[in-house]
Structures are given as C-alpha cells and as structure tokens.
C-alpha cells in the first residue's frame, strides 16, 4: 500500500498484547470525511485509535497519517487531535489551563494560545465553566473539555474515541453538528461509538470490527451490500426440527438448514433474516411447529449487522 499525503493508511497492522490479540492484519485507508469504527466491546476499536496516534506501537505493519508517522511528533501532532476515552485529568487543572498549556507546547505564543483556547472552549460550549477545576465537572463536561482540547489546534485529523458517551441529547446533537462541520472543512474525523443511530446518521463510511479483525469497511451502502451477501446464522429450538428445516429450504435466501444432534434444534444460515422470521411466524401461527427459542448464532457482530442493514434496506 502506498499512502498518499491526504490519506490515513493502515498497512497490514497487527498488535498483540503478549499472547492476546489486539488487532490483526488490518489493511485499509481512510479518506477525508467522517469514518466510524463500529464493533462490540473488545473488538479492537480503541486499539486501532491508539495505534493511529502512536500511544501504542504495532507489533507488525505500519501506519501513515497524511504521510507522517508518530515518530515525527512535532509535525504529526500538529495535524492530529485525539479525544481519548480515558476519563482522567492532570490533578488540580482547570478547564482553561487544560487547553491553554498544551497549545503553548505546540509553540503558540501567549496571545495566539489564548485566542485558540477561547475559541475551542466556545465551540465546545465550555466557556462559562472554563475557570472551574476539571475535578468538579460532570461526565458530560469532562467529555466536552477533552473534545475542546483535541480540536483547539485546528488539526487535520480528529480521532474521537466514544465521543458521545456521557453527553445529554442536546450536547450529543451539538457535538454531531460540530463533527459534521469539521468534516466539511476537508478534515478526517474518525469516530468510534456504540451509539449506532448517531454513527449511521453522521458517517460517510464505516469500518466494522469484530475480535480484532476488520470484517467490513467502506461507504455505508457498500457495507450493507456486503453484509447482505454474508449469510447470518440463526439457531431455532422447536418441536419438529425436520419440518422446520424442509420449510426453510424452500426459501431462496436460506443457504443451509442443519438439524443438530439433539434432534430438536435447527441451525439456519440465511441471507435475509427478516424473511426467515416471517416464515417462522407463519409456521408457528399455522400450528405446524412449536418454537421454544430463537437466537442469533453469531451474536455480537450480528446485532450491528442487523442495525446497519436496516429493516427496509435503507437507513434506520
């Protein structure tokens, strides 16, 4: 992979914590706009962001951000702002100093640093409480002051780990609007979030992660298509496994229907979970089969997949 000067590129990146896998063989590039990292807890989103910003080093592979690496910190961190998930602050600091002093470390003089600090506080809606100690802030305020610090030096790449956590609905809406405005200026905004509704609404593209692997990436429409082609596994426990399996086989989207060894369970692999659910409802209504339990067999990622696909194929 040859990284361009306007690209963020992961080149075959793996990270192991001893024997534990963080992320494995990650290969993708990110264009300007909003990119969301989506996946369940432990899927490797934070690891990927920490790798991107040099807080941890890859065990294999390389990462390029606009042609730079974290080994060139002066140039790199003038381009990158990272709002981490760590809810900790230097003891005794207040909101203003929390933004002002890192700006001085950037090399800005007092006047310029003051101007940028006030601007960042204003954008994050933190001006009225800027002189209060951070220790006295609410969770939402702490989140916003971290965001203010990350954007204060006008970075070209903004990395936000769970930036909507702890924010009230109004603050969420304001933050999302802020991310949109930043992305419109041609910047890279990389967001990880569990709040999928918002991710779906604001993202230009998504990267789906599971157990340290990137399982899908691209524009949301492309991912939906990719996920549609990826059969989902559904386990059904019922009174007549053979009858359910033969009925399932008649559907085009069912790839496989396997009766398990207990004789009362069927593992169905389907490309259209919704259509299969309708079939199941019909069979149960007709009294042909009594269903005891239905469960997705590929649980965590499945819920994300289901959401991203949406009930009608469009955005939810």
């Amino acid at each position: 992979m040859t990284p361009g000067a306007s690209q963020i590129a992961f080149d075959n990146v793996s990270k192991f914590y001893g024997e534990v896998l963080g992320v494995n063989k990650v290969n993708f590039s990110i264009e300007p706009g909003i990119t969301s990292l989506v996946g369940p807890n432990g899927s490797g989103k934070t690891t990927l962001m920490n790798l991107l910003t040099g807080l941890i080093k890859p065990s294999h592979g390389a990462i390029y951000v606009l042609g730079l690496t974290p080994q060139q910190p002066i140039e790199f961190f003038r381009q990158v702002g990272y709002c981490t998930q760590f809810d900790s602050f230097p003891p005794g600091t207040n909101g203003y100093d929390f933004i002002y002093w890192p700006l001085r470390l950037h090399g800005f003089g007092h006047d310029q640093a003051t101007k940028l600090t006030n601007e960042a506080l204003d954008r994050a809606g933190m001006t009225p409480v800027a002189r209060r100690k951070v220790a006295g802030y609410s969770k939402g305020m702490r989140q916003r002051i971290r965001l203010a610090q990350a954007i204060a030096h006008h970075p070209s790449v903004l990395v936000l780990d769970e930036p909507l956590n702890g924010l009230d609905p109004m603050a969420r809406a304001e933050s999302i609007a802020l991310f949109g405005a930043i992305a419109k200026q041609g910047m890279h905004v990389i967001i990880s979030s569990h709040i999928l509704e918002e991710v779906d609404r604001i993202s230009d593209r998504v990267v789906l992660m599971s157990s340290g692997y990137v399982v899908a990436e691209g524009q949301i429409k492309e991912v939906r298509r990719e996920v549609r082609d990826h059969p989902m596994q559904i386990l059904v426990r019922c009174s007549n496994a053979a009858k359910l399996a033969s009925a399932a086989f008649e559907l085009d989207h069912v790839v496989e229907a396997k009766i398990l060894s207990d004789g009362q369970s069927v593992l169905v692999r389907t490309r259209d979970a919704e259509q299969f659910s309708l079939l199941l409802n019909k069979i149960v209504s007709a009294g042909l089969v009594e269903v005891d339990a239905v469960a997705p067999a590929d649980d965590d990622v499945n819920s994300i997949y289901q959401y991203l696909i949406g009930s009608d194929g469009g955005p939810v």
Partner: protein, 291 residues
C-alpha cells in the same frame, strides 16, 4: 558511509532541529511539573525527609542555648558534616529523589494522564529532559533550603563566634561545598531514578538494590566505584568525619580525585543516564485502560 560523511550528516541533522522550540517546551514542562509536584500533599513525606535534621538541630538549639562554648564550633562542624554526609547524601536525598523522580512518569501512568504528554507535538526526549529538570528544581529547592537551614541553626546560636567562623573562617566555603554536593546528589540520584522508573514497573526493589550498591561500592574495584553517585560526592565534602569501625565505609576516600574530576565525572554519569532514559521513553506505550 565514511566517518566524515557521518559527521557531516549528524551536523546537518543537529542544525535542522528546532532548538528554540525545544527550549520553550522544556521551560513550559519544568514550570508545569514544578507547580504540580512541589506543593502537594503527596510530597509531605519528602518535606519531612528534608526537615527532620532541621527540626532536631532546632530543638537542640532551644535546649542548649545557655551552655555555649565557642570551642564547641569545631564539634558542631563535625555534627553538621555527619548530618550532611551520613543522613542527607545517604538517605534523605536518596529517598526523596526516589519519590520525586520515579513519580514523574510512573505517577502519570498511575493517574492515567501520560497520554496527554504523548499527544502533543513534543519529542519524547524533550519530555524526558523537561521532567528531569523539573525534578532537579524541586529536589534542589527542598534540600538546599534544608541544608541552608541546618547551617544557619548550627552557627547562629554561637553569636559573634559563629559569624566569625562563617564569614572570616572556613564556614562560607564549607556552605558552598555542601550546597554543591546537595545539588549534585539531587542531579545524580534523580537521573538514576528517572531511568529506573522507565525500566521497571515497580522501581522500589531496584531502588533498594541501588541503596545497597551505594553502601558497598567502596569495597569494589576502582572502575566499579565510578558507577556510584556517592563516589563522586565524597570527594567534594569539605569536612572529614572521624568515623571508625564499619561506618567508616560510608566516609572513607580510598582513591582521592580532584573536585573538577568529581563534578565532571558525576555530570557525565548523569548525562549518560538521561540519554539512556531518552532511549527508554521511545519504547514506552500507554497500556492503561479506560476502566
């Protein structure tokens, strides 16, 4: 690549560095760290380490002020030498530096704030130098003040005889030597503990081993003694202690060297250890979690 080419390349690399920015960043780091670490409840035990002899000497002054004999100045000069050589250099400054310098990076990890330092456009080497200098400022401020206070309390109670000893006798030169030794001890121990904190997750055990090494180094060959901080400091102490028996190991000077060599040697050792810390910081990763 020839040696000349290597040298030319190194020179051009050095010229390209933004030294003015580095200096500004170091000044800001020192200011921030001193503010954060000097006046904090976490440092109360360090203040106590510095002040214990001051309190003892002060208390002694209160109870013995009516039994003063000017001839006693020589004895009290040896008492002061003992306090500085056996307490401050061996224990007080050692443990204080252990607390101050290991906390500079380990403390950031414990408080989960190290990532803020790693996410600004500051070279990690600059970060090491800035934090090291902050530790040096804090420890020298505390211990130079304590040594000054001890000196003042020892000689002030002798009145005119004390003033004569300080200003017309060897007192002022001795004070200068003690302050120099105190500063060098803070610098030397500080560099060692900074490196240990980057090498080990828990620097207390290696710190205890270092304390042992500093105690037994005099019985080792000359080249090995050069790796001990107190080796350089002993030569700079102005008053010889009349210590016999096993305790003499702490004060005996087996191979005298000039003050210039002592100062230069300790500063070289310090620079070498700080450079090692600069290499160690490069491999440091932020591995604490958000939980």
């Amino acid at each position: 690549m020839s040696v000349q080419e290597s040298v030319a390349r190194a020179q051009s690399t050095l010229k390209e560095q933004p030294w003015r920015l580095f200096a500004t960043q170091i000044a800001i780091l020192v200011r921030t760290e001193v503010r954060r670490n000097l006046f904090t409840r976490r440092r109360i035990w360090v203040y106590l380490l510095a002040l214990i002899p001051v309190l003892f000497i002060g208390t002694h002054d209160i109870f013995s002020r009516y039994h003063l004999d000017p001839a006693q100045i020589e004895d009290d000069t040896e008492v002061l030498a003992g306090v500085i050589q056996l307490y401050y250099l061996r224990l007080g400054i050692f443990f204080a530096c252990m607390g101050i310098f290991t906390w500079l990076f380990r403390g950031e990890m414990v408080q989960r704030t190290l990532h803020y330092q790693f996410l600004v456009p500051v070279r990690r080497e600059v970060l090491v130098v800035g934090k090291f200098l902050a530790g040096v400022v804090i420890s020298i401020l505390l211990f130079a003040t304590a040594v000054l206070a001890c000196f003042f309390l020892i000689y002030a109670r002798f009145g005119s005889a004390g003033r004569f000893y300080v200003f017309d006798g060897p007192g002022l030169a001795q004070l200068g030597s003690y302050l120099l030794v105190t500063a060098l001890a803070c610098i030397g121990y500080g560099a060692v503990f900074l490196a240990l904190s980057l090498l080990f997750k828990n620097p207390v055990v290696p710190g205890a081993m270092l304390l042992g090494w500093e105690a037994v180094a005099p019985i080792f060959p000359s080249w090995a003694q050069h790796l001990s901080v107190t080796f350089y400091l002993k030569h700079l102490c102005p008053v010889k202690l009349p210590v016999d028996g096993p305790l003499a190991i702490f004060t005996v000077v087996a191979e005298p060297v000039s003050p210039f060599i002592s100062i230069f040697g300790l500063l070289c050792l310090t620079v070498a250890i700080v450079i090692l810390s600069c290499f160690l910081i490069r491999r440091l990763e932020v591995t604490y979690t958000a939980e």
